[in-house]
Symmetry: D2
Subunit: 346 residues, 4 copies
């Protein structure tokens, strides 16, 4: 089959590789009907993720069709159409039994396109298939369900639920890439009074409005803290969501939040941040971090199926599966192309 293979920092290719084979009885082989590219894939290509070794097929998001199942797969059948989640779950370890699949100690967690071959291919081996895939609800498209493989649960769980967004809240989202837009989308499920998108690029802020931000603020040349306090009787945001992954944006979030509020970090960080405990210690703030667990995937499937969430908005560019390299190019130049998510389909 064809697949996108990582060959070390800066090196990738769409090339012929052997078809995947089942290795455990709980594996399924899934034909990839639709896949996409994640910011994390770009990080891997930069060499930021040294545990990814040369020869690895990338990708951890797909919608596909079950081709084969092992004898240990109890709830899936050949020809079932499924969402392949970015997180695999053994289903039996302590963390899986608590719904914290991202922390699975039984061999799951984020492994696809990371520790094992991934979804940017014609076929993919999916371990623990019963607990790592979800059937497609009636009346939904592959393209919208694809957004539930990673970005929507990430924004919803790590941003919105960890941040405890509640009706009437003022929510500040710092960073309006795909994850920030997912957090905005998810926050809207709780009817906040205001969702303030904060970014350095006007074009991204404009996009944020379409995803549900009623207020936007470009903090490249002005003070976002003063702006948010001005909107909130001097108190600050009820929830500040970090969706960039650099110290400055995290530290901004800790200044944006009101006493008693929540800072929810989603960003992937490579460096430590400074935590100003000398002022924060009295301010009753709650700060959370988290890898997505995908425990919210069943909820999000219901929200998409009932049109509470319009996930098609994320799919800005479309390609054939064989146009993988062009898709990488478009996604890699998102600032220029305006790509939010690229969709590759058979």
């Amino acid at each position: 089959m064809k697949a996108l293979v990582y060959h070390g920092p800066g090196e990738k290719n769409w090339e012929d590789v052997p078809d995947p084979k089942r290795q455990a009885d709980t594996d399924a082989i899934v034909r990839v009907d639709t896949t996409t590219i994640c910011g994390t894939d770009l990080h891997i290509l930069k060499g930021d993720t040294p545990e990814v070794t040369g020869g690895r097929i990338l990708g951890h998001e797909a919608v596909g069709t079950v081709e084969e199942v092992g004898s240990g797969v109890k709830t899936l059948s050949v020809d079932d159409r499924v969402l392949v989640s970015c997180i695999s779950a053994c289903g039996a370890c302590r963390f899986c039994r608590e719904g914290r699949y991202g922390q699975c100690t039984g061999g799951g967690g984020w492994i696809l396109g990371h520790l094992i071959d991934g979804t940017q291919a014609e076929y993919v081996r999916v371990p623990f298939a019963d607990t790592s895939t979800y059937r497609l609800p009636a009346g939904t498209s592959d393209e919208e369900i694809l957004m539930l493989a990673d970005i929507l649960p990430t924004g919803y769980e790590v941003g919105v639920l960890n941040g405890h967004v509640q009706p009437g809240d003022t929510v500040a989202v710092v960073g309006t890439g795909p994850i920030g837009l997912s957090a905005i989308t998810g926050a809207r499920m709780f009817s906040p009074s205001h969702v303030i998108a904060i970014d350095l690029a006007d074009a991204r802020l404009e996009a944020a409005k379409a995803f549900g931000a009623d207020l936007t603020f470009n903090n490249s040349h002005a003070d976002a803290v003063a702006y948010v306090r001005g909107l909130t009787d001097g108190l600050g945001a009820d929830v500040a969501i970090e969706a960039v992954g650099v110290p400055a944006s995290f530290e901004l979030c800790t200044e944006l939040v009101r006493p008693g509020g929540h800072v929810a970090n989603i960003g992937v960080h490579g460096k430590p941040a400074t935590l100003h405990l000398e002022s924060l210690w009295t301010r009753d703030v709650t700060i959370t971090t988290g890898l997505v667990d995908t425990y919210s995937t069943p909820t999000l499937l219901r929200l998409v199926a009932s049109h509470q969430i319009d996930a098609t908005r994320f799919a800005t560019h479309h390609f054939g599966l064989n146009e993988m390299l062009e898709a990488y190019d478009t996604y890699g130049r998102a600032a220029e192309t305006g790509a939010v998510k690229v969709v590759l389909s058979r």
Copy 2:
């Protein structure tokens, strides 16, 4: 001044009475600019509430203007425009300190138009004025804020929050009078997949659609349980909200709910219901009852001010304050007039 005075079962009059006077230093006198009539007022007039004595001015909902404040009132000034809540709160008892103002043991709770004179008058004495009134947010109308005096917090707290409505849920609301419509409005703040309005009258079900019910079901001639199970893989509703107040509708809710779901009773009951523990004991259900506490009023003010809730939809009929008896007539024949809430203004 003029006021609507109760003179025993079936007897009321819009008549001259002495102006209210402050009795405690924490009292305010508020000029009533807008008031309304509640289903509870009709119950009082039927004689269902024997603790209400002849000579009592009815009404527990108003928006008005502060005329006088006692020396113990610290946060209000003359000419402040305020929402007068149906629940008064001493602010110091155990229950008030837990935000459970409806259970106030310090002299508050539901007293207006019940144990003391109420708001269907030109002026009203408001006890514990600091903790029993709310300033009007900028850019809101008296009419929409009036809906926060009772029905919106009742539907939201006792129905939606007690029922623990969550994104993606299927919510069944039994009864679509003003309280049921408030519960539907409040439930929508949490983006349920479906809100199913259930009633015996097609006209009310039609109205329910305008308030956010995406599905309606007339249970006068068909089986609501079968209908809801058919929509939910045989499981039942995540949340069933009782907004009628008779045993049959409560018992229906306990059948509508799925294992692990919530039944939230809002209805005012005069008789016991049967609780089928012989089937419910294994079904992991949570049943809640409650008088409104109005702890959610600040949140609801934010939701109205930010246009997340359109409260003007409730105000179906308008009258002058002096047309009180006509307003009672219109509201008393709601099935015929289609009245949801009548608004009386100076």
Copy 3:
């Protein structure tokens, strides 16, 4: 092997039966080292549970040793010593993924000694062995862990956690059989101010003191409601736990509870109760029902291993496995023998 076989109402025998065989690859065969008898077994013998058919081996509680595992069992090995839980969990259905194993729709739930052969035998087939058994912690005895097969998680989850017992609370437990004593034991984990045991039998109340009730009340001849209100400034108990299973004790709980409090039903009911909504509708009560899910079993294992819970107190009488009929006799006459739990060991 030998097993306790149910032969229809009133008929049971300790007799030779074929050894159990694996039927699915996720099955394990466990040698029963220790088992016990549950009140539910007595109900079955009375014919109250018609879904239990003649020829069924009873029992749903055991500690044992793994003899065989199917190819789908990933985390257990032959010779592992395990707790066999009363609840089997498929691990993949919606309810299992939410930790609500008692409601498993994938073939689990309460099946042992009910829908399939159980643990009152020399060997037992355990379905879904990965997610239905727990390894024994170091330093614990079989006998104390046996109490975690059913009664301790039942009292803790359905009574204490559903009832939301908190430090400083006044907790009333109505009924002091094994389940009531489990609820008392579990409640003590949250340091309530008072645990009031209420029962009709002085001997059981005396036993309740040893399990952590600091106050006891015999309600055969006096008014428990007046007693509890007298202790609580007239308010009532923060939490009332029903551990009998008859309408009168449930109705008592709804009167014992304070405004804003919780009624947690554990009792197995055969008849409906009356719910006095005409008084309860204003009292902000939360009523819960539930079958045990055993999601708390890992927590309870830690509590027993760290000596926070002394589970050996429950084991009042000891027998050899072959003395099954004598053990039934002793347990069936608990009022006379003072049996809380009988322990049968190889």
Copy 4:
């Protein structure tokens, strides 16, 4: 009257000052029967708290007798015996209505011995007396209730409740001064499996055992992270409580905590800490900060009155009120004297 007056950094005196007078109708004048000294008082004396001006009477903890009440005080009478809380609460602002009194925007918060004269005196003016004092429960001593003025609610709310300690947890408490010991005491209310006290001084660790730490670890010469992971299958503590107030101990807590765990900061910090987001971003941790709110004071009063908490253990040294300077000396040399709390009584 006599009072302990701050005269700028390093300068204090027990001297004659005018008796306090009521300034608002919600004030009470309380005769101080028992007071104590807090670590914060030592910080003020070092000059770390520049908002405290010369001439200020220090102290924010007392048990006393009401001498006078203003007309706005509704629930207290002369001769009532009360706990004077370190936090004053206006009772009407947004934060007070949410129980977050430490963030009061209506003139309360931590003001006693800080922004207004405090309790280390023969009499003290207590603002917002209705909502800032608590009656003494029957059968309790002044000395034990005094511990509820600050340290016990601080350890319980900011450490235990913010840290979400649950039965069966492993809790690490870093720092075993009075606040760390309060956190240990509070944690025990939830029956953790283990409470590990971590400190640099063996004498303090020894004391920690008496307060409920079952394990102790001196981290001056060994690796606490390795120790805690060794106890927890390599995972780390469920909850890590910071009770020192320096960057190193906070950073240690973020390493001690398991994935999915809680870090609760209680320490008063003067400098920023480093937050290692490059490793924490995937670890699902929750970090909280907080000033005490004293919303738990009613609960703690019940826990002391019912002997769930033995607060007398904190009172290691006793003085007459006139021995204030000796008491300061003893408390200031706690490492040497072993003082946890000094109690000064009339």
